[in-house]
């Protein structure tokens, strides 16, 4: 792999880093895009695209069962990606790392495979009011199928979880599952997952953490979180689409039913009796997205060389700048917690103007932001809006992107206000 254009110093040389991302060579009306939608998906560095291409050109065959050299290289690439992912998450064992298509699939895996067998009437599933649909709806569906209750931890007006509601939830039945994201994709709130995990275990519940929005930006240590399951996704952390991962505690994974059957997840098949393979294969049915796993590992290597701490500091500086600038504008209302308790995400409302129109007009200025409910409709209901406009940052974001955002908002106001 090419060396990344960064040092391990404390400040990112963002302008050099941007050269790793071919998309910024693309011009829109003569200007590169001010890409402020990294919370939806990140752009990809050359290093990741190069690695995937090399894999397809020199190391490609189906994984696991081949005896010949190309198949050995492919298997080594794939299993090496699993080791990289385990290290990225500080997982005790790479056998606890299951590759999935996405964070969504990782969360569904737990809901289906653990939930269908372990939930029933009298049990309570606890999620949060700022949960992403990818965590909210699978648990709602499995609660519906099994007869368990489905309850949420409310947030306060700043978008922070109200932990004093927990005791009330415990009185509603046997709490069996607590599911929360580590970073809210809409408000940027950093949630106290360690404390939730402690509480969950006190109730005899499993703790399922959606780290899709955290992992690209800060180091996620599954052991320090004290969780039982942690889901991440590749496309938000400079990796390709089609790949995510679930980390789970070995004892729980071993006791669980499988989810999807066929292929490497099988040990032996007979007409009457079929046995399952050991971890992690038990949960990887069919040909896995192995070239994407190799790309994901290249992305993790890339981020690792730059340093997640440096990335986090960089984003923090941007979010402070953004909130400072937006809060000065009287016709803008920023949602969520103060800058020091949030990741690099700012959702806001432009008085009297629909977010779709905001995003449309910003696009004409080459500023890409997201408008919508961000797959958090229950949170929108709580905030009393149908949608928000959201700007989100990543390692390649520069102060100039923010300046263009603010200038664009004045144009929006002039056109539609």
């Amino acid at each position: 792999m090419d060396r990344v254009s960064a040092t391990t110093s404390h400040v990112l040389d963002t302008h050099r880093l941007r050269a790793d991302f071919p998309v910024f060579e693309e011009l829109f009306d003569g200007k590169p895009v001010a890409y402020l939608d990294s919370a939806s998906s990140s752009q990809k560095p050359r290093q990741v695209l190069d690695r995937m291409r090399a894999f397809y050109e020199h190391e490609y065959a189906n994984v696991h069962r081949g005896v010949y050299r190309l198949a050995e290289r492919a298997t080594e690439g794939f299993e090496g990606a699993r080791r990289t992912t385990a290290a990225f998450l500080n997982a005790p064992s790479e056998k606890e790392v299951v590759f999935t298509r996405s964070a969504t699939e990782a969360l569904n895996l737990v809901a289906y495979a653990w939930g269908l067998d372990n939930l029933g009437p009298g049990d309570v599933v606890v999620i949060t009011e700022l949960e992403h649909h990818a965590s909210f709806v699978p648990w709602q569906y499995i609660a519906h199928r099994t007869g368990a209750s489905f309850r949420h931890i409310p947030i306060d007006d700043r978008g922070e979880l109200q932990l004093d509601a927990l005791d009330g939830l415990a009185r509603e039945g046997d709490v069996k599952v607590v599911a929360s994201n580590l970073v809210s994709n809409t408000l940027g709130t950093i949630n106290p997952v360690e404390r939730l995990a402690e509480w969950a275990h006190g109730q005899g519940a499993i703790m399922v953490v959606d780290a899709a929005q955290a992992a690209p930006h800060r180091s996620v240590d599954v052991q320090a979180l004290g969780a039982d399951f942690v889901a991440i996704t590749g496309h938000k952390l400079c990796g390709p689409t089609g790949i995510g991962a679930l980390w789970g505690r070995k004892e729980i994974l071993e006791a669980m039913s499988p989810f999807n059957l066929g292929g490497e997840m099988i040990r032996s098949v007979g007409l009457q009796k079929t046995t399952f393979n050991e971890l992690p294969h038990k949960f990887e049915a069919g040909t896995p997205a192995f070239a994407e796993a190799v790309g994901l590992a290249a992305a993790m290597d890339y981020l690792g060389e730059i340093g997640l701490e440096a990335i986090e500091r960089h984003e923090h500086a941007l979010v402070e700048q953004a909130m400072g600038a937006l809060e000065e504008i009287p016709w803008i209302r920023v949602f969520g917690p103060p800058a020091d308790r949030r990741a690099g995400i700012v959702s806001f409302e432009v008085e009297g103007i629909h977010p779709h129109d905001v995003a449309q007009i910003l696009d004409w200025e080459g500023v890409a932001v997201r408008a919508g409910h961000h797959c958090t409709q229950p949170l929108m209901t709580r905030l009393g809006v149908a949608a928000t406009t959201r700007a989100s940052f990543y390692l390649y974001s520069v102060p100039e992107d923010l300046e263009r955002l603010v200038a664009g908002l004045y144009k929006v106001k002039a056109s539609l206000g």
């Binding site: 709602q140 629909h354 977010p355 779709h356 004409w364 408008a371 149908a386 949608a387």
Partner: protein
Amino acid sequence: MSEFEQMYREVILDHYKSPRNHGLLEPHDAIAEGENPLCGDEVTVSVRFGEGDVIEDVGFEGRGCAISQAATSMLTDLVKGRTAQEISVLPKEELLDEVGIPLSPVRLKCALLGLGVLKVALHRTKGTPLPEEWSASSGEITLS
């Protein structure tokens, strides 16, 4: 400024800021409401018939993005004097021509919201066919 931008600014914003046929008719012969949950656009359309199933008057209310509201405003001008039967099979292209700017799939849903709601209203009173997107149910989860 691109041509697209120009049109948006002139035509769409004109209808958005000064919608035609705004306000619900009282009394009315038909009414329906609908929303686009993706972005929270909402539209209610009311209709009064003249001879047979001729749409004599139509009025709407709503909130949402400029495209959803402007397109519904344009629609109301377009349908007056035509029959329920005609409108129930109105090709969406006719309305989109009126809107006049190329729309991405996301914005298309905004632009066609009013037309869909109107077709539902006609269906309810005149039994005209419902557009496929409005009749297909894909299922739901309801907790007790």
